[in-house]
């Protein structure tokens, strides 16, 4: 087991923390799963140190829990699931290692946040496809490696786009790169000198190594840099909005829009999720919820460097026409909702309080993958369960996001609750457990199986579990990487 002196030898005195208050802060998350306070928090500054740390963990059988984001922990995957763990806080590894306009690539370390990356990319007229209003301290790398859905699914030819290559120290202590980057030396500068920009993410041979760290919750290894594909920043952009009384009314438009690939961003929100996104206080959210339509679909048109006006006009008019043919009125805004304001909120980072916590103080999410034409089934089932638990169905937020150019859809239910109320807390815990099981029974797929979802999902698929066990034995033979997660 780890000793402080050993860790100090590897990381330096200042980078090994055992202050009880600090340790306690790493044990707090929104998850109801059992959490443990870490023994130490260590803050490596480079990949070489991470490599030494993982080697040490293997020698001493010390559990390591990688953490890259700061602020509230939403899912519990980065909180120790076993005692005597060392949290590896990578937030200080926050260099933007390379920005390449020609290739539209950027290489970042784990601690880089959206605000910093966006500012840096903007200097060269580039953007990274973002997720729905990430928290301020959100690690871009973690967000993407964990496959959090992008607002713009059109950039996803691959399920994990915009992720390309990565450097990983696997659980057995071996440091290597993935994809194209694995064909050369570990040293990125040498690769850049040969104009190798870590663009091609597959293989590079028969095994897709990058797929073993994605959605892995840090259970296979520690990623110390990742290359990401960016897009050209729009010069003209408009997020359009259409409203509907029923979710089913939006289906035809979304399918057709995805078929044409005209939109950039495209997503669906119900009134509660939209109000939470737009409101700044509980009261604002409450009043917005009352006046917003039950459902909206948002879809954007953009013009970039090349004849921006022509592209923007074509995309705008075509999207409006498609909506009209689908019985929807796609507009720049509704009477109480501006498309531009929605875009601003959806693509900016959060304030001091996470946006889903503004309404009641805390929240629980249940999210999974499905297909668009099946979302209604889940909606009905979740509402019925909520009613059974006495939970106000009008407080349930819903977010539906096409992924991978529409081959799958992320569906997310949000249940706000007051964490200071033991009754509400217990109700939401029981409710989300019931919803989680029901969703799985209906065919919802926990591709990112956090907490109890891991057991639910893998119990449905013995062969995948068997394969993951074999793979974990290869890449993390001593089970030092975030043990207790993933139920492997």
């Amino acid at each position: 087991m780890a000793t402080k002196d050993s860790l100090k030898t590897i990381l330096g005195n200042a980078n090994v923390i055992d202050n009880p208050d600090v340790l306690a802060s790493y044990a707090v998350s929104h998850s109801f799963d059992k959490n443990f306070k870490p023994w130490y928090v260590v803050k490596p500054k480079d990949a070489e140190t991470v490599e030494k740390l993982v080697a040490f963990a293997n020698e001493t059988k010390t559990p390591l829990v990688p953490v890259s984001s700061t602020g509230v922990k939403l899912r519990g995957d980065s909180v120790p699931g076993v005692p005597e763990a060392v949290v590896v806080d990578l937030s200080g590894m926050d260099k933007i290692l390379n920005v390449n306009r020609q290739q539209r690539m950027v290489v970042i370390e784990p601690g880089v946040t959206y605000d910093r990356l966006s500012a840096e990319l903007a200097k060269q007229n580039m953007v990274i496809a973002g997720s729905l209003k990430p928290k301020k301290g959100q690690s871009v790398l973690t967000d993407i490696v964990e496959a959090v859905p992008r607002l713009n699914p059109m950039i996803q030819w691959n399920f994990f786009d915009p992720l390309r290559c990565a450097e990983v120290t696997w659980g057995d202590g071996t440091r290597m790169s993935t994809g194209e980057a694995a064909g050369g030396p570990l040293d990125l500068k040498t690769q850049w000198g040969k104009q190798q920009w870590q663009v091609q993410y597959m293989g590079p041979w028969m095994t897709d190594y990058f797929r073993l760290v994605t959605q892995a919750q840090g259970s296979m290894g520690i990623v110390t840099w990742a290359s990401l594909k960016t897009a050209v920043k729009p010069l003209i952009h408009q997020l359009y909005v259409a409203e509907a009384d029923d979710l089913a009314d939006l289906e035809g438009f979304v399918y057709k829009a995805m078929w044409t690939r005209f939109p950039d961003e495209i997503f669906i929100l119900n009134n509660m999720q939209l109000a939470s996104l737009m409101g700044k206080t509980q009261a604002e959210i409450e009043s917005l919820k009352e006046v917003l339509p039950p459902w909206i679909v948002a879809a954007s048109a953009a013009g970039r460097e090349l004849i921006p006006e022509v592209r923007f006009e074509a995309r705008s008019k075509d999207l409006i026409d498609i909506a009209q043919a689908s019985g929807l009125d796609l507009k720049e805004g509704l009477s109480n909702l501006s498309g531009r304001a929605l875009y601003q909120e959806a693509t900016s980072t959060d304030g001091d309080v996470y946006w889903k916590d503004l309404y009641a103080g805390s929240h629980q999410n249940v999210f999974f993958l499905t297909q668009l034409d099946k979302t209604g089934v889940f909606l009905r089932a979740v509402r019925e369960i909520a009613e059974d638990f006495g939970y106000p169905t009008e407080d349930i937020g819903v977010y539906i996001q096409p992924k991978h150019q529409g081959s799958s859809y992320h569906m997310e239910f949000t249940f706000p609750y007051d964490p200071d109320s033991a009754k509400q807390t217990a109700r939401v815990q029981d409710l989300t457990e019931s919803v989680s099981v029901a969703v799985a029974d209906l065919g919802g797929y926990y591709s990112r199986p956090y907490g109890k979802w891991a057991g639910i999902q893998l119990n449905k698929d013995a062969q995948s579990l068997m394969a993951l066990k074999r793979l974990q034995k290869i890449f993390d033979p001593n089970d030092v990487m975030n043990p207790g997660k993933l139920a492997i």
Binding site: W157, M176, V199, Q200, W205, D208, D318, R448, R470
Partner: protein, 556 residues
């Protein structure tokens, strides 16, 4: 090494007597010339070993039983569907060949834009079914007569339309796979819910070990069914065709345009690619007809588009002043297809395309704007149905160079590569003299652009031993040139890297010598461990690159 009667009878019990054979008249047909990169055909003395039996399974259950029997009796196996090249064939005398021809179903889920296909569903058929629903599929460079499943699960899989439709790996959704030890795994949503729409996860994706970039070429068991993403097709439910063989032309595709871009320089070519990637205008982007060679490409297109012309007309056509002028104009060229999903969309794409050409000083080839030739080009590229044309010039070809996937690295080297090839054309009669530059391939080796997929075609006479060996020697020199330039492995060595020139598997010791000293040895040592975990009896040949981890050397 003959099979035991017991094993043979057990196989026969699984598939039935009609679906198994050890008759040499049958098994001899399941040997392949050990081509270096892709496929060349002709009498050569290095063929892959003859399988001890050929088995035609009809279901996943039968495949599983066959694989389990192979494990029990320690007999190697490899499955193939359309048998394009050597990677689909066995590499040992103690092996059987699975021919997947009986499994050919196709189901299309139009609304969710996916197709579920079995091994012998070929690209052309899948595309026909997709087009009925306003959809199409990525057809890999191997052509539409090859298996969609094999291209998607087993080998590289980019093609002319990959800039829009993505490449094989990007389109692979749920997959059903009989592992080398006989267990069945169903990836993603298929494993838990019987749905095909996602092949990733749960958590880290087990599919990581089946696909990679090159694909596992049948070494990770037998893929029996997959779902692939389909992509929008704005044309009619089928492509009307006019003309007489070989001049088939697409008719009435009013919202689909085909152009050939003539670039003023290789620098403009690279910059043009960057702009095409960013503007998302291309439905298809491929350097196609240059595969016949810089000096004769229009002569070949003239023959294809004029049924009365024959190959014996090539010398005269090559000297035709107009065609010479066109060849010069198209010295650095690429074929592009634009497709409009609305009138406004097509208008935008045309304008954006013109703006790109103007920005880099390029122009549209007037030769390819002739209606018949444009319509010929559309059909050729959208279907990629004329793979036989690759062989028409000299009976055989190999791909070499591969250069770099980064067009800004590859483009400045094109003339040097062309000069090296031209030297061989001039000094060795075995390599067809076509003008040096015979570079061809996909403008995009990845969905949306960003990497390319090039190869030079080396045309040679597959019925002439000297020609075959000239082409091999040329490719050897190409490989040395690429090494000198720091460009990595030559595309032309894909088969020679993974099996002996005589067609037999490499041993582990040979693999260790080849792969234990690479820049990042974990690539090969982890694959060794994966093979040990999923293929403990080593029954699928040596296309799976491995190196014994130092800590495991000497251990059983």
């Amino acid at each position: 090494m003959a099979l035991t009667r017991e094993f043979y009878r057990a196989l026969e019990d699984v598939v039935g007597g009609r679906n198994i054979s050890e008759d040499p008249a049958v098994t001899e047909n399941y040997r392949c010339i050990t081509a270096q990169s892709s496929a060349h055909y002709g009498p050569e003395d290095t063929r892959t070993p003859k399988p001890q039996a050929v088995v035609l399974p009809g279901s996943t259950d039968e495949v599983q039983q066959i694989v389990k029997l192979c494990n029990k009796y320690k007999v190697e196996f490899k499955a193939a569907s359309t048998f394009w090249a050597a990677m689909g064939f066995i590499g040992s005398d103690n092996a059987i060949q699975l021919d997947m021809i009986r499994m050919d179903s196709i189901e299309v889920d139009a609304k969710n834009m996916l197709a579920i296909v079995e091994p012998f569903a070929v690209g052309g058929t899948v595309q026909v079914e997709a087009m009925k629903n306003g959809l199409t599929c990525n057809i890999a460079g191997v052509g539409c007569s090859s298996s969609t499943l094999a291209g998607s699960s087993g080998w590289v899989g980019f093609g002319p339309s990959s800039i829009f439709t993505g490449i094989a790996s990007e389109n692979l959704l749920g997959a059903e796979w009989v592992l080398p030890d006989g267990e069945i795994i169903r990836t993603g949503t298929l494993g838990s819910d019987g749905e095909w729409f996602c092949g990733e996860g749960p958590g880290p994706s087990p599919r990581a070990i089946f696909r990679g970039w090159t694909g596992t070429a049948g070494t990770m068991g037998v893929c029996t069914k997959i779902a692939i993403r389909l992509h929008p097709w704005p044309g009619p439910k089928w492509i009307p065709v006019r003309g007489t063989a070989p001049l088939y032309m697409a008719d009435g595709l009013d919202n689909v345009r085909a152009y050939t871009i003539c670039f003023p320089s290789w620098d403009a070519y690279a910059e043009g690619f960057r702009l095409l990637y960013e503007a998302d205008v291309c439905y298809l982007a491929h350097r196609q007809f240059n595969m016949f060679g810089r000096d004769i490409k229009t002569a070949l297109v003239e023959i294809f588009t004029h049924p009365e012309k024959q190959f014996c007309d090539i010398p005269a056509l090559v000297e035709d002043p107009y065609l010479k002028e066109q060849n010069a104009d198209m010295k650095i060229d690429v074929q592009i297809v634009l497709a409009g999903f609305s009138e406004r969309d097509l208008d935008y794409k045309e304008k954006a395309f013109d703006a790109i050409l103007e920005q880099i000083g390029a122009h549209k080839s007037e030769y390819y704007l002739q209606q018949d030739i444009e319509d010929f080009t559309k059909l050729y590229l959208l279907r990629l149905a004329r793979k036989n044309y690759n062989y028409t010039l000299c009976s055989s070809y190999e791909g070499n160079f591969g250069l770099s996937a980064n067009v800004f690295v590859a483009a400045p080297l094109m003339e040097e590569a062309a000069a090296l090839k031209k030297k061989w054309e001039q000094t060795h009669t075995g390599v067809a003299a076509v003008g040096g530059d015979s570079d061809m391939g996909s403008v995009s080796g990845i969905g949306g652009g960003g990497t390319t997929g090039w190869e030079f075609f080396v045309h040679f006479d597959g019925f002439d031993r000297d020609s075959i060996y000239d082409s091999k020697a040329h490719i050897d020199e190409t490989a040395a040139w690429m090494k000198e330039k720091g460009l990595g492995a030559d595309f032309g060595r894909w088969n020679t890297e993974v099996r002996h020139p005589d067609g037999y598997n490499y041993t582990q010791e040979e693999h260790d010598a080849m792969y234990s000293k690479i820049a990042q040895p974990g690539l090969a040592t982890y694959q060794w461990k994966i093979r040990e975990a999923f293929n403990p009896n080593h029954l699928t040949g040596s296309y799976y690159k491995t190196a014994t981890p130092p800590e495991c050397k000497g251990k059983k």
